[in-house]
């Protein structure tokens, strides 16, 4: 496992570094904005005790809003990406900073306040020479609390495409990859410790020095943000993908194909951009132009008109295409060959022993079967309960287990059949046999490029370029490619390029 971790860190150091910088940028920007709001507000309100207490109540209430809910509320108004993340983080950070500044200022020794008044000091001098320096230890305490809060909460920004270390945490959860989880979690923790110490150091400086340091930090952040938006502007097409290796490989293929079709187009990929709803909203608001989506996901979660899911892949695609066109004015290009849906898998040895090829073949030995199922699969209607009915299967025993443990339990002989996804890298890794869904029970999940019809009109090269993948890539191909990225830690772009070359899709 340590070897694995080391390998991931070495092969992905570029992306990890980028995620770290994104995380720092996001956190510091939010902290600065929160401080710029909370500290002056506290200074103004300190003489007005009642109003200050009221504001404190309001900020405390804001603190109790769950962060995911807050992000959800913000998306319709400000879209996805950095802006809503920063707003949410600011909302959380305002309260500790306001509270500490307010209590720091109102707890200054009354005789010092009397002295400052009696000496006839002007307001600004009193504030900058006496009040703020005396309240500074308390304010610094509040800033540190806020920063630790921000760095922790900022991991959720990955859910809405703002990047950061949360990408690795989500990716780790999504793909059962402990290396990613550890990288994401440990780096955020180290970041919190480092910046907390940095702020404490800042607190020991004189007010003037402190202002200088903060000004430099602001300049750096602004510079970095400016550079990013400058480089971002040169891109005409942004392709995003959901979490995981598979979308990452696909969007790299899209990029190469588009750039081959029209050299003038600048394409940027944004892997691990977030969950379905965030990607779809980003597409609607034109923050991204293309992303690969599954037919089954379109019919079941995106389209408003819920109809009974067909088990025929072609019908499902047609329904998805028509629905997207009429409901969202979007174009759904031709799907690839492979299906990424539920399956049942057994070891080669076990398949040979009982001559298993299809799910129907399980029926005869059903009572001897010990199944290991993902808890969702075990409960969902389109999972085991439906399967049971469709195939008239009565498994001997069923144990629900974490997706990551499932395959290991199968290989170790603890169970002899598991559920999984048809393109899981583990199928190759452990040489498993996927049983054919001969009754076409599982809903079809075919991947295809999704984009706005207006985008297609603006860039006519997109359609022929992306349609080159139509009916390409088999389940085996995808398993291999996932294996290369997830287990062998090859770069998604390398794997994608290699596939396109060997299948003569690049000139």
């Amino acid at each position: 496992m340590w070897q694995n971790l080391w390998h991931t860190m070495v092969t992905q150091r570029g992306q990890i570094w980028e995620a770290l910088l994104q995380h720092i940028g996001l956190s510091l920007l939010s902290l600065l904005i929160a401080a710029a709001i909370a500290i002056p507000l506290a200074i103004i309100l300190t003489p007005h005790k009642k109003i200050a207490e009221g504001v404190l109540q309001i900020t405390s209430v804001m603190q109790t809003i769950p962060s995911l809910a807050l992000l959800g509320i913000l998306i319709p108004f400000v879209g996805i990406g950095t802006v809503p993340s920063v707003i949410a983080l600011v909302v959380y950070a305002v309260m500790p900073i306001f509270q500490s500044t307010y209590s720091g200022l109102s707890e200054i020794d009354p005789s010092l306040q009397e002295a400052a008044t009696a000496f006839g000091l002007p307001r600004w001098m009193r504030l900058f020479r006496i009040d703020l320096p005396l309240a500074m230890p308390t304010i610094i305490g509040g800033l540190r609390v806020a920063l630790v809060l921000i760095i922790g909460t900022a991991t959720l920004a990955a859910l809405i495409g703002a990047g950061g270390l949360g990408t690795y945490i989500l990716l780790g959860i999504e793909t059962n990859n402990n290396s990613y989880l550890i990288i994401g979690a440990v780096l955020s923790a180290l970041l919190a410790i480092f910046f907390s110490a940095l702020i404490r150091w800042l607190g020991r400086l004189s007010l003037r020095r402190m202002v200088e340091v903060v000004a430099i930090a602001v300049a750096l952040i602004a510079g970095a943000a400016g550079y990013q938006s400058y480089t971002a502007k040169t891109a005409t097409i942004t392709i995003a993908g959901k979490l995981g290796s598979e979308p990452d490989i696909l969007i790299n293929m899209y990029k190469e194909l588009i750039e081959q079709q029209d050299h003038k187009l600048q394409v940027v990929t944004k892997p691990n951009f977030g969950a379905t709803s965030f990607l779809f909203k980003a597409l609607q608001s034109n923050q991204i132009q293309v992303y690969p989506e599954f037919t089954g996901t379109v019919t079941q979660t995106i389209l408003k008109s819920h109809t009974k899911t067909s088990h025929n892949p072609q019908q499902t695609y047609e329904k998805a295409r028509a629905g997207l066109s009429s409901e969202y004015q979007m174009s759904y290009l031709k799907p690839m060959k492979y299906q990424n849906g539920y399956d049942l898998a057994v070891t080669q040895q076990f398949a040979k022993k009982y001559d298993l090829k299809t799910i129907s073949d399980l029926r005869e030995i059903a009572t001897k079967l010990h199944a290991g199922f993902d808890p969702d699969f075990d409960h969902q209607k389109d999972g085991y309960p439906g399967l049971q009915k469709a195939y008239n299967l009565q498994m001997g025993s069923i144990r629900t287990m974490e997706p990551s443990i499932r395959y290991k339990a199968l290989v170790n002989g603890k169970v002899n059949v598991v559920d999984g996804y048809t393109t899981d890298a583990e199928i190759q890794q452990y040489h498993l046999v996927v049983l054919k869904d001969d009754l076409h029970y599982f809903p079809p999940y075919q991947g295809a490029p999704l984009l706005k019809t207006s985008t297609l009109k603006k860039y006519p090269a997109l359609k022929p370029a992306l349609n080159k993948l139509a009916n390409q890539i088999t389940e085996k191909d995808m398993q291999t490619m996932n294996y290369d990225v997830q287990v062998k830690h090859e770069k998604a772009s390398t794997v994608a390029h290699h596939y396109l070359l060997t299948h003569h899709l690049l000139k």
Partner: protein, 315 residues
């Protein structure tokens, strides 16, 4: 000249000042003395408008204090607080120069002024200018507190029980300092205290206050010889009570002692002996008596020492 005309201060709970009339002449060291709640601090704080009267007027010269810009008014006065109140985040030098800084004096001039003032009160600028208040003893801090009030060369200095929190030695030294500064700088000082002995020792004139009224205004001699009423007499008696409990230790603490001369013969008395006891013993002991100080050192006190103590403490 500072004058109070029919000044009343009414708080929701009590009447702090009741129709106060008082004139403080330019160049006086004017002491307001009285028990707590007598209204002496309220009176003082009306001069720099930390407190405004409910009715009546306070004037400096011919002008009502409310006619001045309040900050300008305060910047022309020095103020010394009971709790000393040096700003803990600033060096001694910056503390002293806080009012000059508000008046936007150039930095070099502020430093020069601070150092000059430190020298004047026998604190070496090289040792003290860049230290922080917490590094100084209470007596040293209030020394700085006093020169901070002098920084802009104000004509009026207000002192609100400045020595009540200090030990007897420091108190005596700082009283001497105030007397010396008052004489050499031609200042008008308004000084609040609850200690009658301090009032009589320092004041050019003294106003004795009680329950928001002035009982008597006069020179220390007037008040000592012709107390206006029983309250003032009792105030004296309680001050003398304090005196009777004075012991040899007080002399030691105040520095009225001298080293032992090895070839002479002395009688030994405890440092807890009363001053009466000391005086009686000294009548038969021309060489003086020997006492062990709290630091373990044997010291000698002579008749001359006792006399200097009594004359300078104004018994």
């Amino acid at each position: 000249m500072i004058s109070f005309e029919h000044v009343t201060k009414q708080y929701p709970e009590h009447l702090a000042l009741d129709d106060l009339n008082l004139t403080i002449h330019t160049g006086e060291l004017f002491v307001l003395v009285g028990p707590s709640g007598s209204g002496k601090t309220t009176t003082l704080k009306m001069i720099n408008r930390l407190i405004d009267p409910t009715s009546g007027t306070v004037k400096i010269g011919d002008q009502n204090v409310t006619d001045y810009n309040i900050q300008a008014l305060r910047l022309t006065m020095g103020y010394v607080l009971q709790n000393i109140a040096l700003f803990p985040n600033m060096t001694i030098q910056d503390n002293i120069a806080i009012q000059p800084e508000a008046l936007r004096w150039p930095r070099a001039k502020r430093i020069e002024r601070s150092r000059q003032l430190l020298t004047q009160v026998h604190l070496s600028p090289d040792d003290y200018a860049n230290r922080y208040p917490r590094e100084l003893s209470g007596g040293e801090q209030q020394r700085v507190g006093i020169v901070r009030a002098l920084a802009t060369e104000p004509k009026i200095i207000l002192m609100d029980e400045p020595f009540s929190a200090l030990d007897p030695i420091s108190r005596k030294q700082l009283q001497d300092l105030v007397l010396q500064l008052h004489q050499s700088l031609n200042l008008t000082i308004v000084f609040v205290t609850h200690d009658m002995r301090e009032a009589l020792r320092l004041g050019t004139r003294v106003a004795v206050m009680r329950n928001g009224h002035i009982q008597q205004v006069g020179t220390p001699n007037d008040i000592r010889q012709h107390p206006a009423n029983d309250f003032i007499k009792e105030f004296f008696i309680s001050a003398e009570d304090q005196q009777q409990t004075l012991t040899v230790d007080e002399l030691l603490l105040s520095g009225y002692d001298r080293p032992v001369e090895p070839d002479k013969h002395y009688m030994r008395i405890p440092k807890s002996a009363s001053l009466n006891n000391l005086a009686q013993t000294l009548k038969s002991q021309p060489n003086g008596v020997i006492v062990t100080r709290s630091d373990g050192q044997d010291m000698v006190i002579t008749t001359q020492d006792l006399l200097s103590y009594i004359s300078e403490r104004g018994v």
